[in-house]
């Protein structure tokens, strides 16, 4: 709730930038150390998630997250497997349990690799859905706001209605009622988080609509939808990009929370929240089961937040002058 309030009150974004857009953007990004760190972590995470997908799926994966070795359960990180008790295909690929093993003797490192992809896709797809709906609704509300007041009112009242729901509780309810699957989670998170974007885009459109290039396009007889999607939306993307980046962080946290409560991607597929949830019975005996996924989520979410906030500072010339 407070986060929403902080977002809506923050001063508006402006497109008219004295620095040439591309050049200035790169330089400013380089100056903002935290944002650069965030971006770097994000790139690394992206590669790891892609690699993880390749290495843990298929019939004969390089890192098999599903191999159960009951004789090797709850081994601490970096411990060597006991080669005498394991058959050759059960030996972990690196010859060492990098992050230890869980209560079924499964390699936590392999499970973390598998879970990275879930976090990444849930984050991106959920935010993709919410941004798409947000731009569409906000664009229509903002563009037609003056001529067809009823459309604008209708959409904004709908936003008000959606904002009345306690978001995590709503997501939890719907996810619990639907059959468990990764796609349902993405869709539900996406469908319940588009309201902020709608408001941003609408506000942006209200001012863009009065600008000359829109009048010019209209005078040339360009159709309304072409004006909205080809001409106005590219100019309204700055705040959307910022809120999308931070939205990914929120979506990853939400997914982890759902997995933690047992409503995530169904087992045996590993998710970070799920690994942590399975490990909670052993927090004193096997803290690595809590710390490995916990720090992974923390670092990834932090990188998105840092990058998003950095982006906000960079794209907002009003704030920039003050530093």
């Amino acid at each position: 709730m407070m986060r929403d309030a902080a977002d809506t009150v923050s001063p508006g974004f402006q497109v008219d930038d004295p620095v040439a857009p591309q050049q200035g953007f790169g330089q400013l990004l380089k100056q903002n150390r935290l944002a650069m760190i965030g971006l770097a972590i994000f790139v690394v995470f992206f590669c790891i998630a892609l690699l993880g997908l390749g290495l843990t799926s298929g019939r004969n994966p390089t890192f098999d997250p599903a191999v159960v070795r009951l004789q090797e359960k709850l081994r601490p990180p970096l411990s060597k497997p006991n080669l005498e008790t394991l058959s050759t295909e059960e030996v972990p690929r690196l010859g060492v349990y990098l992050f230890g093993t869980d209560d079924l003797g499964r390699d936590v490192f392999a499970r973390m690799l598998q879970g990275a992809w879930v976090s990444l896709t849930v984050g991106f797809v959920a935010v993709g859905i919410s941004v798409f709906i947000g731009i569409f609704m906000g664009g229509i509300a903002g563009y037609f706001g003056q001529s067809h007041t009823s459309i604008d009112t209708l959409i904004m009242r709908f936003v008000d209605i959606m904002l009345c729901f306690p978001s995590f509780f709503l997501i939890l309810t719907v996810v619990a009622l639907l059959p468990a699957s990764m796609y349902n989670i993405m869709i539900v998170i996406g469908l319940t988080s588009w309201m902020g974007t709608t408001r941003f885009v609408r506000a942006e459109f209200l001012s863009l609509r009065e600008q000359d290039f829109v009048t010019a396009a209209r005078a040339l007889g360009v159709s309304n939808f072409r004006i909205i999607f080809r001409h106005m939306i590219p100019n309204a993307m700055a705040p959307v990009l910022v809120s999308a980046t931070i939205g990914i962080a929120t979506a990853i946290l939400t997914e982890a929370g759902l997995s933690f409560l047992g409503f995530g991607v169904p087992p045996p597929h590993a998710t970070w929240g799920g690994i942590l949830s399975d490990g909670k019975r052993f927090i004193f005996d096997a803290p690595w089961l809590t710390f490995a996924p916990g720090f992974a989520i923390l670092i990834v979410v932090l990188s998105f937040n840092l990058f998003g906030e950095g982006l906000r500072d960079i794209l907002n010339p009003k704030l920039r002058e003050r530093y």
């Binding site: 407070m2 902080a6 935290l34 306690p166 509780f169 942590l276 809590t290 923390l298 937040n305 840092l306």
Partner: protein, 319 residues
């Protein structure tokens, strides 16, 4: 002023009406019926299911179910499907359990974030500000359940106090100082966890508000005419920066019923969030819908209060 109140009350009632419809539809159109919760239970014969369906009007069309449900809710007669107890009574009981968490959490949030945010703004760009910024991002990004376990490990291994639940099991007849300390320890962790996100966000917001105001002309004027720094910060700048926060008091209201599901589950705290979670697991629709309805009422009341407060404190808004 009066016309504003009238208009927004009407508008909010309409919104509430639609919220009730949407939440009812979401619950009832989702696959799986509540009568199928436990198909493997041998006691759940088809006759039982039939009686169950009749009892709770599940055999009627949706719009009739809707009217039945909200008629019962507004007259306070809704009962839980699970144990036939009054939903409002159950919610009230759990609400009283969640209340201390909410109060301590709110006090922590509001007392910690202002000093941190103001100091960051005054020494912007300095070491303190950069650390505070980084820590607030860290607190926003840390998953609540992970942080909870870090704190549990820390407190249990360092201070050797049990922290799960409302109070230590079987402590019944200990001396009262021990009882009080026990309650405090049990209350502390969940409230701190509930407050972390709030502290991080609110302190950032305080900082940006302060920066906004410190850049204004009248602050420069105050400084130019030789007002001492302290007075500039706290008398000229802070007072004006506080304006938007007055309205935030209204926005706290929904937190009353929010009660974090995850934190209450971890600490086995018998509060609102846990009750809602159990209701979801048991598909106890009346409880889910009532919690949803009450929280929507609180959200709407919260925005209403914050609008009103804004009009009261800021004469520029009063039109």
């Amino acid at each position: 002023m009066l016309s504003f109140i009238g208009r927004s009350v009407i508008q909010k009632t309409i919104t509430l009406f639609f919220v009730s419809i949407v939440s009812f539809l979401i619950i009832h159109l989702a696959p799986g019926a509540p009568s199928q919760v436990d198909p493997l239970n041998p006691k759940f014969t088809p006759q039982m299911v039939e009686r169950f369906r009749k009892e709770f009007h599940l055999d009627e069309p949706l719009y009739i179910q809707y009217t039945y449900f909200y008629r019962d809710l507004l007259t306070g007669k809704t009962v839980s499907w699970k144990d036939n107890q009054s939903v409002l009574g159950k919610i009230w009981e759990r609400f009283l359990n969640s209340l201390p968490l909410f109060i301590v959490g709110t006090i922590l949030t509001w007392t910690l974030s202002f000093p941190v945010g103001i100091r960051s703004a005054i020494f912007r760009g300095g070491l303190y500000d950069r650390n505070a910024t980084f820590f607030s991002y860290l607190l926003i990004s840390i998953p609540g359940f992970f942080f909870a376990y870090i704190l549990i490990i820390l407190v249990v291994t360092q201070f050797h106090v049990p922290v799960i639940g409302l109070k230590t099991f079987g402590i019944g007849d200990a001396a009262w100082p021990r009882l009080v300390m026990d309650r405090v320890w049990h209350l502390l962790l969940p409230s701190v966890l509930g407050a972390t996100g709030g502290i991080a966000i609110l302190s950032r917001y305080v900082r940006s508000q302060m920066l906004e105001v410190e850049g204004q002309d009248y602050v420069r004027t105050a400084r130019a005419k030789g007002v001492p720094e302290e007075q500039v910060h706290y008398k000229h700048a802070l007072r004006n920066a506080l304006l938007p926060f007055v309205t935030m008091f209204g926005l706290i209201l929904p937190g009353l019923i929010g009660g974090s599901v995850i934190i209450e589950s971890i600490f086995s705290w018998p509060g609102m969030g846990r009750m809602a979670f159990e209701a979801i697991l048991a598909r106890d629709y009346p409880i889910i819908l009532t919690v949803n309805f009450v929280s929507a009422v609180l959200v709407l009341a919260g925005t209403f209060v914050s609008d009103l407060l804004y009009m009261v404190v800021d004469p520029r808004i009063r039109l």
